[in-house]
């Protein structure tokens, strides 16, 4: 095995992974709106139809429920559907199939049917998209047993986690941050790269406080943590990578070590996954805390229009301020 790496954007890493996985496993079928001839509206599926043909790379009608629902049937037929929902906000139109059918398929048939289904969907703010294109809905899906939820923050992880997602015998929702598609670039192994689901990554070590996050907010959290170094604050950053399965052990270990934690999410505050992290910290290592755990979130309003979105999405200033407050308290 060569150890060669290439610098890729997250989008390029996703595209490359789809190519290599489709070449590896001929059961894989890519389906979705504009995934074929157009190569995806962001080009995530570029080149697939040319290489693998119209039978395995399928432009579907504008039918999110039929995309998700036919993926169930494809899986029942022994194929491995990798479906794209063009924007996560439109998954509401497939929610009854994702939550009501895909996530329950194994359970309700006691494994007669194997839901080896991956659903890819871009989401997240900061790129001035129209309504419903930016919403961070991960916590809504996290409350659906039977669904894994993977949210990479780097190009290398996008490759390693998408590989695991496609190979996973259970349904995986693979969420791709719009801002990271071209905004995140890093070194990605050229060869097969597998990152197991459910293993968080301590992307920066630290002793005073840990910032816990996932997806694009990890990028911002890293910048904050690095800037705090110069001010004598040693901040760790934990990238959860997947929120289901959740790496409880990694959270417990780093929170116990630092004694202070800030959880950063783009989603609205109430009922967000940050609440779940804080409840987990309560269960696992409450007595190691030296200060209340803070949350940085979007606000409890629908995702706002373009001229307001920069105020809505957590930025470095808000993360920094929450970290400093946590350091100062207790």
């Amino acid at each position: 095995m060569s150890n060669k790496v290439s610098e890729l954007s997250m989008l390029e890493a996703i595209n490359e992974t789809l190519h290599s996985e489709m070449a590896r496993d001929e059961r894989i079928v890519v389906l979705g709106e504009d995934v074929g001839r157009n190569g995806g509206v962001f080009r995530a599926t570029e080149g697939l139809i040319e290489k693998f043909g119209e039978r395995r790379v399928v432009d579907t009608p504008i039918s999110e429920a039929a995309i998700a629902g036919s993926a169930v049937g494809l899986a029942m037929a022994g194929l491995v559907p990798v479906a794209e929902i063009q924007f996560l906000g439109f998954s509401y139109q497939a929610m009854h199939q994702i939550a009501g059918q895909i996530a329950r398929l194994r359970y309700r048939t006691q494994s007669r049917f194997e839901p080896q289904i991956t659903i890819r969907a871009p989401f997240g703010g900061g790129v001035r998209t129209p309504e419903l294109h930016s919403d961070s809905l991960e916590a809504q899906f996290a409350n659906i047993p039977g669904l894994k939820i993977v949210m990479p923050s780097t190009a290398a992880d996008a490759k390693g986690l998408l590989t695991s997602a496609i190979r996973d015998p259970d349904p995986v929702l693979f969420l791709e941050p719009l801002r990271g598609y071209r905004g995140i670039r890093d070194l990605v192994p050229d060869e097969e790269h597998v990152v197991p689901l459910g293993q968080a990554n301590l992307v920066k070590k630290g002793d005073d406080v840990v910032i816990i996050s996932w997806s694009y907010q990890v990028e911002l959290s890293k910048r904050v943590a690095e800037s705090l170094e110069g001010e004598g604050i040693s901040a760790a950053v934990l990238d959860l990578r997947s929120i289901v399965p959740l790496d409880i052990e990694a959270i417990t270990e780093i929170v116990s070590h630092c004694g202070r934690a800030v959880v950063v999410q783009e989603a609205p505050e109430t009922g967000g996954f940050a609440s779940e992290i804080i409840a987990t910290i309560n269960d696992e290592c409450f007595w190691s805390l030296e200060a209340p755990v803070a949350r940085v979130s979007g606000f409890d309003v629908p995702y706002p229009v373009g001229m307001l979105e920069n105020l809505y999405v957590p930025d470095e200033t808000r993360i920094r301020s929450a970290v400093l407050k946590t350091i100062e308290s207790g």
């Binding site: 579907t60 629902g69 169930v72 494809l74 009501g100 359970y107 959740l246």
Partner: protein
């Protein structure tokens, strides 16, 4: 030949009588509190059994809604055994064993239609020869899944048969409040596929429609929407009181066309059925149901099986929950 021959008609009637007889026993078991909610099959027998007899059980899939299982005997005796587990609320009731090509009941109306389209599509991608038949009702045809999946099926030319049993009632809602269309089969036009309406009380007509749809699907010409018109002779489910809304005159008129009685008369006239045969079939049907019921009741159930089959590998949190569940079960037993 698209028409069932005499031997097939006898087998169809046998399955219809068995379904009707077992449905009656199930109703009583529900009333005794022995099984959960049941959706009676009465009035739907010819549509279901006639359709299933036009399929090839080795290659063709059936995706039921929830009223059909007693009519699927042709697919194997395990369908009934699994259905009894399902009625008892046993988790194994969702697992119809391999290689039977029947999915478990689908409670979400119309939700199996996109599954059927995907399955048929997948089978054609794998160059398998079979078709998929999905059952749903007049009410389910108002769901978005019907339109999205019907449209996709048309585009993909998927080898699927969309089989709508129009029993005139969606619980209490009559068909004229369900659609302004002339028929349910006319909705096929929007999908660019053939739509046919058949008398669902006539198993030979149903058989012929499914036979033709199957032939069309297996020759690569794509899906067909079949509407089988019947009348729901019983309640929607054991939880329903149809006397609140079904006009008694309509019900009486429908009872005159009862598909089981009609076929019994026809085959008796032609010397293909007798009272003796009828008694034998009914007795065996009840014995078989009671046997399935006893077997289901005696199927072991571990409390922590609640945690099985969510994922292939449990998450750390699920493992902890399993152990906490076992603790609470242990404490309750002390």
């Amino acid at each position: 030949m698209p028409k069932p021959n005499d031997k097939q008609l006898q087998m169809i009637l046998e399955d219809m009588v068995i379904a009707r007889t077992q449905a009656g026993r199930l109703w009583n078991l529900q009333r005794q509190g022995q099984v959960g909610t049941i959706a009676p099959i009465d009035g739907h027998e010819a549509a279901i059994v006639g359709a299933v007899h036009a399929l090839e059980t080795e290659s063709d899939w059936v995706l039921p809604q929830y009223r059909e299982p007693l009519g699927l005997r042709r697919y194997g005796t395990e369908v009934l055994d699994t259905f009894m587990l399902y009625n008892l609320g046993h988790p194994a009731g969702g697992h119809i064993p391999e290689p039977i090509k029947v999915a478990p009941s689908q409670i979400s109306l119309g939700a199996s239609i996109p599954h059927a389209v995907g399955l048929a599509w997948g089978m054609s991608l794998k160059d398998e020869s079979g078709v998929v038949l999905v059952f749903f009702g007049d009410g389910a045809s108002s769901e978005g899944d019907f339109y999205e999946a019907g449209n996709l099926a048309g585009v993909l030319k998927a080898p699927v048969i969309l089989f709508c049993i129009n029993n005139q009632w969606a619980i209490s809602t009559p068909t004229h409040l369900q659609t302004a269309a002339d028929s349910f089969s006319s909705k096929a036009e929007a999908f660019g596929i053939p739509g046919v309406t058949v008398d669902g009380n006539d198993p030979a007509a149903v058989y012929e429609a499914v036979f033709n749809a199957r032939k069309r699907a297996t020759s690569g010409k794509g899906p067909t929407l079949i509407e089988a018109t019947v009348y729901r002779l019983g309640a929607h489910t054991t939880a329903d009181d149809p006397t609140r809304y079904v006009p008694s005159d309509d019900l009486s008129a429908a009872q005159e066309k009862d598909p089981v009685h009609t076929l019994i008369q026809e085959l008796k006239t032609r010397g293909l059925w007798s009272d003796t045969k009828q008694n034998e079939v009914e007795t065996a049907a009840l014995e078989r149901l009671d046997e399935a019921f006893e077997r289901a009741k005696n199927t072991p159930l571990e409390p922590n099986s609640m945690m099985d089959h969510c994922f292939v590998s449990e998450t750390p949190r699920q493992l902890r929950q399993r152990s906490s569940l076992m603790d609470s079960v242990g404490n309750a037993n002390e």
